[in-house]
């Protein structure tokens, strides 16, 4: 290998590694460097897919895949985590953890239109109109709104919930106005 083709600092580094006895030749140094680069690319989620659409050096066992997903999520590589989860769930249909990862990290489902009554639309519209008109007056408060009527407002979330009760499925808008 002709080191003159490398930038001077890299050529010096290669010579230094050989001089220290870590490697026998320039080819060995370059190969080691490329392996590290490939490993880094796979870990960072930027690795090139091979012909079968999978990353090189993918983990094989279910436990290794789970560990790799966790690592990808922790480092913010969400797309790579999804790919691992989807592939892993397909590869290990009886592995509970991978099935859960596959389901939760899967792409969102296609939106499904849901029948809505004219009354529900009117109530929702009234809430939006109230917010447009009054949001500035209630800054710093949690509010509960229903069909354009203010049920309660308070800086305390717990206070509002205590006044209106369980909001789930009751078309009560619960939000903090900042």
């Amino acid at each position: 290998m002709n080191l003159n083709e490398l930038p001077r600092d890299l050529a010096q580094f290669v010579q230094q590694e050989i001089a220290q006895g870590k490697y026998q030749s320039a080819e060995e140094v370059i190969s080691a460097a490329l392996r590290l680069l490939r490993e880094h690319e796979v870990q960072s989620g930027n690795g090139q897919s091979s012909a079968n659409g999978h990353h090189d050096a993918l983990p094989c066992s279910a436990e290794e895949i789970v560990a790799a997903i966790t690592k990808a999520l922790a480092s913010g590589h969400h797309a790579f985590a999804r790919q691992l989860a989807m592939d892993g769930a397909q590869q290990y249909p009886d592995h509970d953890a991978l099935q859960k990862y596959g389901r939760i990290l899967a792409p969102p489902t296609v939106g499904k239109p849901m029948p809505t009554t004219p009354e529900a639309r009117a109530a929702f519209k009234a809430n939006n109109a109230w917010l447009k008109a009054h949001w500035q007056a209630y800054r710093g408060n949690w509010i509960a709104l229903q069909a354009g009527l203010l049920l309660h407002a308070s800086p305390s979330f717990d206070d509002v919930v205590a006044h209106v009760g369980d909001v789930c499925g009751r078309d009560i808008l619960l939000t903090k106005i900042n």
């Binding site: 939760i104 489902t109 939106g111 639309r121 939006n128 789930c168 939000t175 900042n178």
Partner: protein
């Protein structure tokens, strides 16, 4: 050039700052998270649905329904601890029909409640809005949405 897509529903949105510290307005939509109607800001650069911790408490989701373990998500310069869940979201319509879909949601751990800023919940694009056709008319402050199915 006319741009058309099949709209399922439309709603007005609020265009206001999301926190007391901010002056820049954001697109704030009323949505339902697992049947709880609340507001969320649209953040096309964000990931997942980030569920407000206090609202998460109302959802009554236990850790067994999430992927484990707890992960950390970088949120406004701070790492938040939480778990990933699959939640059902509904885009609510003033005109047309609501649109429901399942998305990946980051639910902060209960101890993060105090550390959460004044942000409402956040609709990220990746893992959340990525399969929704949507358009915004800033003149009428209307958010249009449609199914990709």
């Amino acid at each position: 050039m006319a741009l058309t897509f099949a709209v399922t529903g439309a709603t007005s949105y609020q265009y206001r700052p999301a926190t007391p510290q901010e002056n820049t307005p954001r697109v704030v939509l009323a949505i339902a998270i697992e049947g709880i109607v609340t507001e969320a800001i649209v953040d096309t650069g964000g990931v997942y649905l980030l569920c407000h911790p206090r609202l998460a408490r109302q959802l009554d989701r236990d850790a067994s329904q999430a992927v484990s373990p707890v992960i950390e998500l970088l949120f406004r310069g701070v790492f938040l601890q939480g778990r990933l869940h699959r939640l059902f979201l509904t885009l609510l319509a003033e005109v047309g029909e609501n649109l429901g879909f399942e998305a990946t949601a980051f639910v902060p751990e209960p101890h993060e409640e105090e550390g959460w800023s004044d942000m409402p919940s956040i609709l990220g694009f990746y893992g959340c809005l990525e399969r929704i056709r949507m358009a915004i008319d800033p003149v009428t402050e209307t958010f249009y949405f449609g199914s990709t199915g």
